[in-house]
Amino acid sequence: MMIAMLRDVATTWGSFYSNHAAMRTLIAFAHVGGLVAAGGASMMADREILSAYQRREQGGSVVLNTARKTHRIVLGGLTVVIASGVLLFAADLDTYLWSKLFWIKMALVVALMINGAVLTRAGRQAPSHHDHSWETLHWTAIASLSLWFLTTLIGTALPNIG
């Protein structure tokens, strides 16, 4: 009964979404805009971490402070991406439910968030656990860059390949 009710809500939403070009534009903008904000800020921080690691500036508190501030922007952007993503998913439920690419993208988003949590924790521990934390920061920054691009690639393929 609950599923039937949710499906009915999704059908009504799908109809509204399909009939309103301004709504489609707004939600697509929120999704892409959130991605640009979160992904852009995250990549900037990843790049700073990798540069500091390569220059062996492992005590670099400036880099760690930047990463910490960036974390808030990334979380805010991701919240917008997820909220608009739920609306996009509900507007075309039957397509996305059976789409392998969609679920691969969701798995990548989860991996991105777990990686972000590990990176943030390593950033907090870096001043006291020097070498080990910087190794973690180095590898999670590389993983973060790769995951952002991979998620974008799958997201772009989704409407074309399904």
Binding site: T12, S15, S18, D94
Partner: protein, 147 residues
């Protein structure tokens, strides 16, 4: 205020048809798929074989699932009674007739025939409205009243 009609589709034109998902059974040839004839008007989407079966106003139709514009899988909007492409929003009537959007032709129809109260769809018989309008128009099965 801009109403729905401004987008080329008036709400009064809508017919609420239910949607179902299913897979056709293999027919005689490798390109043939068999579907039970729907009891009432409605839409059946077979994602595996990329076929849409429609019963509408005593006629049966089969369509290619892909939008003729950029080959994106079409979706059925039950509350609006029409097909719509999620990519560029081309809209089509239940008969596959183009309403508006970026597409430049009707939905592509497939060859259909009845066999022992089963609808046989032949995906090798592919009809484009811009290449062969007469064959496209003829690609349907008229049901006798009471069926």
């Amino acid at each position: 205020m801009i109403g729905v009609a401004a987008f080329g589709f008036a709400a009064t034109d809508a017919v609420a048809l239910p949607v179902a998902f299913g897979t056709g059974t293999a027919g005689a040839g490798s390109s043939e798929h068999r579907y039970p004839v729907p009891d009432t008007d409605g839409v059946t989407i077979d994602r595996k074989n990329q076929v849409i079966v429609v019963r509408y106003q005593q006629h049966l139709y089969a369509f290619n699932l892909a939008c003729p514009h950029e080959n994106t899988a079409l979706k059925w909007l039950p509350k609006d009674g029409r097909f719509q492409c999620p990519k560029h929003e081309s809209r089509y009537q239940p008969t596959g007739t183009f309403i508006d959007g970026r597409a430049t032709r009707h939905m592509d129809r497939l060859g259909v025939r009845l066999d022992n109260n089963m609808l046989v769809v032949d995906t090798s018989q592919f009809y484009r409205s811009d290449k062969d309008a007469a064959a496209w128009a003829a690609a349907n099965v008229a049901l006798t009243p009471g069926v």
